[in-house]
Amino acid sequence: MKYNHLGRTGLMVSRLSYGASALGGVFRSVSESDAIRAVHAALDCGINYFDVAPAYGGTRAETVLGKALKGIPRDKYFLSTKVGKYTSPDGYGADTFDFSEQRIRTSLAESAARLGTDYFDIIHLHDLEYQKGRHVEPALGEGLATLQTLKQEGRIGAAGCGVYPLDLWQRILRDCEFDAVLTHNHYLLNETRLLELLPLAQEKNIGVINASPFGMGMLTERGPADWHPASPEIRQVFRNAAEFCRRQGTDISKLALQFASQHPEIPTTMFSSASAESIRRNVQWHEEPFDPALLAQVQQLLQPVFNLQWKFESNNTK
C-alpha cells in the first residue's frame, strides 16, 4: 500500500481508504462478527483511513466500527465521521438534517461514545444539499464555522464535507475553507468529472477523497441496491459492461477499482465493504495496473451513460 498527503490536512493516508457505510447494512444486512473481521482485514492490508457517519444504518455503522477498532492503538489509523444528517435504523432515507453548532457538538459527543475515541482527524458535513438545498446556507455558514472552532479547540484535526452536485462543489471549492472534501461517484469507470474539480482543490491544497469506485454497486456483478435512481434501461447498459468483462474472464469490479484508485492526482479512493475477503481482493486489485485495452472497450460500452448525473435524493428521501 502506498500513502499520499491528503492536501492541507497533514494526514498521510493510504491510497485505498475504508468507508464504513456497508457496516450499517446500507447495501445488505451484515453480521457483526463479519463486520469486525472486515475492519481488521483493512488494517492488515495497510489501510489507515476510516470514514463513517451517524446516518449509516441509524448509527449502527458507527457502533460496529467502534467495536472493531476497540483495542487498536489510536495512532494506527485516521478516523473521520460526519455531522448534520441523521437517519433512523430501519431505513436509509428517512433523513433529518441539522447543521447548528449545538447539534454538531452533541453529534460529536454521541459519535465519540460509539467509536470509543474523542478525537476525529476530519469531520465532514454530510449530504448538506439534501431536501432541496434548504440546509446549504446553514451548513456552509454556522456548520463550517463550528468545525473551524472545533479545530481551534483541538477536538478535530480538519474540516471537510461531502455533497454530490457538481455546481455546489464548484462553489464550495472556490469559496469555502474546507481542508478536505469527500466526493462520491465523480471519478470511476462511468464518470470522470472529478477531474474538472481537482485543479480547484489543488490550488487551495484541499485534500480530495474519491468515494464510490463501484458506483454504489452499478460496477459490480451483483448490481446496485433497489434505492439506486438508475432506470431499467441504464441498469442494462451497466449489466452489458459487466457481462463483457465476464466474457473476457474478468470481473468489472476489478477494472472499476483499479481505474478509480490509480489516478496519480487523487490522494485516496474510498470503498465500502463488510467482507474481509472482498477487502483483501480490492487491495490486491489496486496494486496491479489496469489493462488499458480492456478499459477502452468497457468505456466504449459505458459511453451512453458517461458522466450522467444521478438524482440521488428524489428516490432516497421518503
Partner: protein
C-alpha cells in the same frame, strides 16, 4: 511571418488540396486548426460540410474558459468535430498544460467523444507525460513526433522523453512535420529514418499515423513529397502495418465513420 514564410502568405483552401490527395493515393484528410479562435473552428467545420474528403476537424476551443462546456456542446453537434488542439508550444509558460484551468478543460473532452492533439516542442514532452497520466481515458496524439531537431541530428533528450510518453497507451503519434525541422528544401528522405525508427519502436504500429502538415510542409517540400517519406520508409513493412499507419489508425483514433478508407491528417 518573416520572408522565409512567404510561401504561406496566401489562403490555402480545400480546392488546393483536393487534387493532391488522389495523386498521393489518399482519399481523405483531417483538417487541423491553425489560429486560436472559435471563428476558425466554425469555418473549418463549414468547409468539412462542403467537402467530403475532409473527414474530420480538429478545432480550437477555449479550454481555459468557464464557457468551454457551452462551446463544446455547440460544436459537438457536428459529427465532423473530432478533436481539439491548442498551440501549446507557442505559450511562454512551459507548464501551460498543467495549469488548473487548462486541465479542467481537458477533463471535459471525453464526454463529447473528442481527442486532443499535443502540439509541442521536445522540452514539453515530460510535461505532457504528467498531463496524459492524469487522463488515462482521454485519447491524445502527439503532432509531428514532438518536433525533434532533425536538422542538427540531435536525439537526446527527445528520444528518452518520447519513449517515456509512449508508455502511456492513451497517447498516439503523428509521423508528420519533419521536413520543416531540418534545412528547408535541402533534406533527403534518409535524414528522417532514425527518427522514424525511434517513433516506431516507442509507439508500435497501432499508435502511429501519417500526417502531412499541409500547407506548412510547402515551406520545405510539397504534399506528395512529404507523404512519400513515410510511405517509402514503411515499404519493407507488411501490408497490414502500412495500411494501419497510412490511414486506418487515423480513422480509428478520430473515430471516423466506417467507409472512410485512408484519411491522412494535415497536422
Amino acid at each position: 511571418m518573416d520572408d522565409r514564410m512567404t510561401v504561406l502568405k496566401r489562403d490555402y483552401l480545400p480546392g488546393d488540396l483536393a487534387p493532391l490527395l488522389p495523386a498521393a493515393k489518399f482519399d481523405g484528410t483531417i483538417a487541423v486548426q491553425a489560429r486560436q479562435n472559435l471563428e476558425e473552428t466554425r469555418w473549418l467545420l463549414e468547409l468539412a460540410g462542403q467537402h467530403d474528403f475532409i473527414k474530420g476537424v480538429v478545432g480550437w476551443v477555449d479550454l481555459r474558459s468557464p464557457e468551454l462546456r457551452s462551446q463544446l456542446e455547440r460544436f459537438a453537434q457536428n459529427p465532423k468535430f473530432v478533436g481539439v488542439r491548442h498551440v501549446v508550444h507557442d505559450e511562454p509558460d512551459d507548464e501551460y498544460m498543467l495549469r488548473p484551468d487548462f486541465r479542467g478543460g481537458i477533463a471535459q473532452l471525453r464526454e463529447f467523444g473528442l481527442t486532443y492533439d499535443l502540439l509541442l516542442f521536445p522540452k514539453h514532452l515530460p510535461v505532457a507525460a504528467k498531463l496524459v497520466a492524469e487522463f488515462p481515458a482521454q485519447k491524445f496524439v502527439l503532432d509531428h513526433l514532438g518536433k525533434p531537431r532533425i536538422g542538427e541530428k540531435i536525439f537526446s533528450p527527445w528520444q528518452e522523453d518520447l519513449v517515456a510518453l509512449a508508455k502511456f497507451s492513451n497517447v498516439h503519434c503523428k509521423l508528420s512535420g519533419m521536413v520543416t525541422e531540418t534545412g528547408w528544401n535541402r533534406w533527403q528522405a534518409d535524414d528522417f529514418s532514425r527518427y522514424l525508427d525511434i517513433a516506431l519502436a516507442a509507439f508500435g504500429h497501432d499508435r502511429l499515423m501519417i500526417g502531412s502538415d499541409w500547407p506548412v510542409c510547402n515551406l520545405s517540400g510539397d504534399y506528395a513529397a512529404v507523404m512519400k517519406i513515410v510511405a517509402d520508409y514503411l515499404s519493407d513493412q507488411p501490408t497490414t502495418v502500412q495500411e494501419k499507419i497510412l490511414g486506418a489508425n487515423c480513422a480509428h483514433f478520430y473515430n471516423l465513420k466506417p467507409g472512410v478508407a485512408t484519411p491522412a491528417t494535415n497536422a
